[in-house]
């Protein structure tokens, strides 16, 4: 892991989510909770609107980091805390911004810290990947 330097940004990407992204994730994951595709249901349970699945946000955030690393890097551990939902407008969608930075390195492993924001708000906290060779 000596090629990684603490503090370096290894990847940065803005992923644009639309309602289609949410339906696609619902199908792929099997999570068909209607608050992720029906405005009427979301509003009826007190939400401001349709939300992205938390697991979709968690999943895309790791995708940004892993795409920047060699394919033979092994993931040891990936954890997040969900703090704020990502509201996905029917017309304008939502942008999720992911910044992946090297947090710690030793000889065999490294920690990648992810900063994940939507609408200027941090939506995942303590989003960290531990990787090794």
């Amino acid at each position: 892991m000596s090629e990684l330097v603490v503090g370096d940004v290894i990847a940065e990407r803005t992923v644009h989510l639309t309602r289609e992204s949410l339906v696609r994730y619902a199908g792929a994951s099997g999570d068909f909770n209607p608050i992720h595709y029906r405005d009427d249901v979301a509003v009826s349970v007190g939400l401001p609107g349709v939300l992205a699945h938390g697991m979709l946000t968690m999943g895309l955030a790791s995708s940004v980091a892993l795409a920047a690393l060699p394919a033979d890097v092994r993931l040891i551990d990936y954890g997040v805390r969900f703090t704020k939902p990502v509201l996905v407008d029917a017309e304008s969608g939502a942008d999720v911004h992911v910044l992946a930075k090297v947090g710690a390195v030793d000889e065999t492993s490294a920690r990648i810290d992810l900063t994940v924001k939507a609408a200027e708000t941090t939506v995942l906290v303590k989003a960290q990947l531990r990787i090794a060779r």
Partner: protein, 153 residues
């Protein structure tokens, strides 16, 4: 009905084996914007030392979810889905999931903590392959609210 503290230590049966399909991995990879070639291209995965396409890390949720369904199905759980928020999630891997794996998950509720009128439920789904080897442990923290305001991460 409040969340039942007796869920901690209860024995749950292993889930039915889940066969990881190559097209399912590709579908999931597209859904989570996983562009790295080992998720979709068999040759690229094999060059990196894997038998087949590699599932993105959060794919384990698909198998873990089978255990959460067991938890919600317990008649005395006291967990109401409409008042449940996904608060934390973690995956601890021994090796990645690849297409062709036949995976089984076993649920253990490891802790229930009162937090104001709410309850925080921590559970581990230990996911093993057909030979019984550990693949990944998926840990969820669910926050179950006490009032009837519901949302879900």
């Amino acid at each position: 009905m409040p969340v039942n503290n007796d869920l901690v230590g209860r024995e749950f049966p292993p889930t039915a084996p889940y066969l990881v399909g190559r097209e399912k991995v590709r579908e999931f990879a597209r859904a989570v914007f996983a562009d790295a070639p080992q998720h979709t291209d068999v040759a690229a995965a094999q060059r990196a030392g894997y038998a087949d396409v590699v599932a993105p890390p959060t794919f384990a949720m698909v198998i873990q979810d089978l255990t959460l369904q067991q938890l919600l199905a317990e008649p005395d759980s006291g967990i109401v889905l409409a008042r449940t928020i996904h608060a934390e999630q973690r995956f601890t891997y021994s090796r990645p999931i690849v297409a062709g794996d036949e995976l089984t998950a076993q649920l253990a509720v490891t802790g229930i903590r009162a937090l104001g009128g709410n309850a925080m439920i921590t559970s581990d789904a230990t996911i093993t392959d057909a030979s019984g080897e550990h693949v990944v442990t998926a840990t969820s923290v669910l926050l179950v609210g006490s009032d009837d305001e519901g949302e879900d991460a």
